[in-house]
């Protein structure tokens, strides 16, 4: 896979280059600012652009660059990284796009497998959301309330994986069950949460689940 990196922290940028090289990817560009990356990928496009959210122009230049890249190169995958899991970053990212896009924490993509897995899912068109953030949306400090309380433990697990942006096959692989079983769980969850049944198709599903979890958080 051809990858471009814009990250103002030299240490992290160099580390990423090494990890990507070890994973067998080709790092075509590695620069400290997003503006520079825009020019470079215009001349020499890549499969996925990896962007630090907090880089110039401050305070979250990576999001602005992601927006431009998505408008200029709709087929280019985008992976946004930050130090802290921020719900408002996630919401901005969902506005930029819901396919071929990802939001992960820097210290969760420091292994070759995690980084490769994330990039592969993005390249395949999925949306990848930091598991800790997805779990935070599902689990609330006050305990599960309302319709979420009606879900079984298994359904909660499936819901979290859906919120991470995983496909039925992805969820099945994570939970060591068949895709058919996952389909049943998804239907059950949608019924219990009164989500429209026609939203079960992958991309609409992620949005529906996140929107639902978000309104749940706001209501409490």
């Amino acid at each position: 896979m051809r990858v471009a990196i814009a990250e103002d922290g030299a240490l992290f940028r160099e580390g990423l280059v090494m990890l990507l090289a070890a994973a067998g990817h080709e790092v075509v560009h590695a620069v400290p600012d997003g503006g520079q990356l825009l020019d470079l990928v215009a001349a020499d496009p890549v499969d996925v652009a990896v962007l630090d959210i907090r880089m110039p122009p401050e305070p979250d230049g990576g999001l602005a660059i992601a927006e431009r890249l998505r408008a200029l190169h709709p087929e280019m995958g985008l992976l946004l990284l930050s130090h802290f899991a921020e719900t408002h970053y996630l919401m901005r990212i969902l506005e930029i796009g819901t396919r071929q896009i990802g939001y992960r924490l820097k210290d969760k993509v420091t292994s070759v497998t995690a980084l490769s897995d994330t990039l592969a899912r993005i390249a395949e068109g999925e949306i990848v959301i930091e598991p800790a953030l997805a779990a935070r949306l599902v689990d609330r400090p006050t305990g599960r309330q309302g319709k979420l309380a009606a879900l079984s433990e298994r359904e909660i697990e499936v819901l979290k994986l859906m919120a991470e942006g995983r496909s039925n096959n992805g969820i099945a692989a994570q939970l060591f069950v068949s895709s058919k079983a996952i389909e049943k769980h998804v239907a059950g969850i949608f019924a219990k949460l009164s989500l429209p049944a026609d939203a079960t198709a992958y991309h609409r599903r992620v949005l529906a689940v996140l929107a639902y979890l978000r309104t749940q958080r706001i209501e409490t």
């Binding site: 240490l11 130090h83 210290d107 420091t110 292994s111 497998t113």
Partner: protein, 378 residues
């Protein structure tokens, strides 16, 4: 001002006027009862009324008018002596010019053997006074004793209150600034930890990720090299953490004390000389004092290097009988201290020193260098 020799008898015959002013008032009331002239009764009654103004301080401008008018003077001046500061005068008619010393006859007003103020009248009026006018004047001076005494207490109380309120405001302002400074320091620390240490930790995690990958793919040689890289990164991160913590309190200051900490920090500064008395080098001071002096000296040196680049700087420490004294002087361009901005670093320095009950003085003038000196009583 000049005491009128003709009136000395009125001012000082303690057996007839003072010290027992209340008795004087009783006598006066007796005499008023037995009937002196109507005019004098009225004047005295008007003056005595000023002693009965309750908790409010007597209105001395009005009193000066009552006395002046009563005695048929051209003008009258009452003054109240205040401890430590000059007297305060009240004139009738209001806005009258400062009288010529030669034209004024001044009589001291006493209360319980202590001079509490004075009354001044135009000399022409005083010389013209005959009995019973002179008697009336004596009575008035006697009655003024307790009134001016009470006025003096009220003035002093007011001043003390004013000072106390001012001091309380200073303390509150200083506390607000201290809180703001602490907050700024906390944020700087947070930033150092985030921008420095955290990045290094993530970089190390990445190295571990690579190491894991290399081990799982059997690349033993590069895994060994990776381990070495990890060790280097660990050392780097440790050094970074030490330097961040050093921003809070230098190790040398905590373990070895003020002088070794200053020496290790300032020894390498070009053009700087340390002039430290052996008595200071040989002892430890309370931790807050050491910290305050340490940072103030460093700040003063850094100011000197910033504003007086190339100047020679001397940092001197002395152990005096009044406490620990320090001085940072340079022979640079200097400045006008009164023109220093209130938000300049100098205010922070003064507050740091004030926090350990010390005082900081800044002496400078254009072309005369700058001396920042402090004394911490111990």
């Amino acid at each position: 001002m000049e005491q009128d020799p003709g009136l000395a008898a009125v001012a000082y015959p303690s057996e007839s006027v003072s010290p027992t002013a209340p008795r004087q008032i009783r006598d006066l009331v007796d005499r008023l009862a037995t009937g002196a002239s109507r005019h004098q009764d009225a004047v005295l009654a008007r003056v005595v009324a000023f002693s009965r103004t309750g908790r409010e301080a007597p209105d001395l401008d009005e009193l000066a008018r009552a006395v002046g008018e009563g005695l048929g003077a051209r003008w009258c001046r009452l003054s109240v002596s205040r401890t430590g500061v000059g007297e305060r005068s009240y004139r009738w008619p209001a806005g009258a010019d400062q009288p010529e010393a030669a034209a004024e006859s001044v009589v001291a007003v006493r209360f319980r053997d202590e001079q509490v103020g004075a009354i001044g009248l135009d000399t022409a009026t005083v010389t013209r006074l005959r009995r019973p006018g002179r008697r009336l004047f004596e009575d008035i001076v006697a009655v003024l004793g307790p009134i001016l005494h009470s006025a003096r207490l009220s003035l002093e109380l007011h001043e003390q209150l004013h000072t106390a309120v001012g001091r309380a405001q200073d303390i509150a302002a200083s506390r607000r600034r201290a809180v703001a400074q602490m907050e700024a320091e906390r944020r700087a620390l947070e930033r150092d930890l985030h921008d420095g240490a955290q990045h290094h930790l993530v970089a190390m995690r990445m190295t571990v990720g690579l190491l894991e990958h290399e081990l799982s793919t059997g690349a033993t040689a590069s895994a060994l090299a990776r381990l070495e890289q990890l060790t280097t990164q660990l050392d780097l991160t440790e050094g970074l953490l030490v330097s961040i913590a050093g921003g809070i309190l230098p190790v040398a200051l905590v373990t070895a004390g003020l002088v070794p900490a200053l020496e290790s920090e300032l020894r390498a500064v070009p053009g700087l000389r340390l002039d430290i008395e052996p008595a200071v080098a040989g002892r430890r001071y309370p931790a807050p004092v050491e910290t305050a002096v340490y940072f103030t000296c460093l700040e003063a040196v850094s100011n000197a290097r910033k504003h007086a680049a190339g100047a020679s700087v001397v940092v001197a420490l002395r152990d005096t009988y009044r406490g620990l004294s320090f001085e940072v002087s340079d022979d640079g361009p200097g400045f006008v201290p009164t023109k220093a901005r209130p938000d300049s670093g100098l205010v922070h320095l003064a507050e740091r020193i004030a926090a350990v009950r010390g005082t900081l003085t800044i002496r400078s003038a254009p072309g005369r260098g700058t001396i920042i000196a402090g004394l911490i009583p111990l």
